[in-house]
Amino acid sequence: MSIQVRILPEAMDPAASLAELCGRDSEAGAISSFIGQVRSGDDLIALELEHYPGVTEAALEGIAQAAMQRWSLTEARIIHRVGRMEVGEPIVLVAAAAPHRRAALAAVEFMIDVLKTQAPFWKKEYTRTGSHWIEPRDEDHAAAEGWLRSTQDQAV
């Protein structure tokens, strides 16, 4: 059982990180992952991600640990970019390895849902006309609360 959590101030390579999980643990029949990347739209030029050094890492660690406790996983990994990112650049990788697929799939969905509203990150959009901070959407809150209501997991 192992957890890896990282905050990266520079470009990340999510596929390379996923490659590290492949073929590593003979108990892991299933590896599931989610990659978030900067999506174009609304004149978006770039995204800036801010975090709370130390506290954000601890929150991600808590989310990964909660996933390990809740499902039978061999590994849980969260890598999150901070700083300025252009359209198309990766923002986050969440991955889980498990003996069985249901655990790996559910753990990834759990980790990305909870991370969105429960770990201290702040997102600023730069468009051609200026910049503004992003508020989490109602559906993001609902997704996290759906998981947390059932367990009292609290990331921070």
Binding site: G54, T117, W122
Partner: protein, 82 residues
């Protein structure tokens, strides 16, 4: 003998600075810090907005959370990661 106050993201923009060092004597609860900053700072009222999350020494806190010398008290707008 200080409380280390931090403001993140939009709250930093509103307050016009990323941190404050307050004399530990000004408050012994989070609510006291907010009251002090509302008094002292034109923009201090944003810290009392219902959406603000407060983190004391890395742990989610509330108005009644006690604070003491050396504590780090962070005022955070809603998180939006991923």
């Amino acid at each position: 003998m200080t409380l280390n106050i931090r403001y993140f993201a939009s709250l930093r923009d509103e307050m016009g600075r990323s941190q404050d060092a307050l004399d530990a004597a000004v408050a012994n609860q989070v609510s006291g810090i907010i009251a002090h900053l509302k008094d002292r700072d034109e923009k201090g009222w944003v810290l009392a907005e219902p959406f603000v999350r407060i983190i004391v020494n890395g742990v989610v806190a509330h108005a009644e959370t006690p604070v003491a010398d050396g504590d780090e008290i962070a005022f955070c707008p809603p998180f939006s990661g991923g």
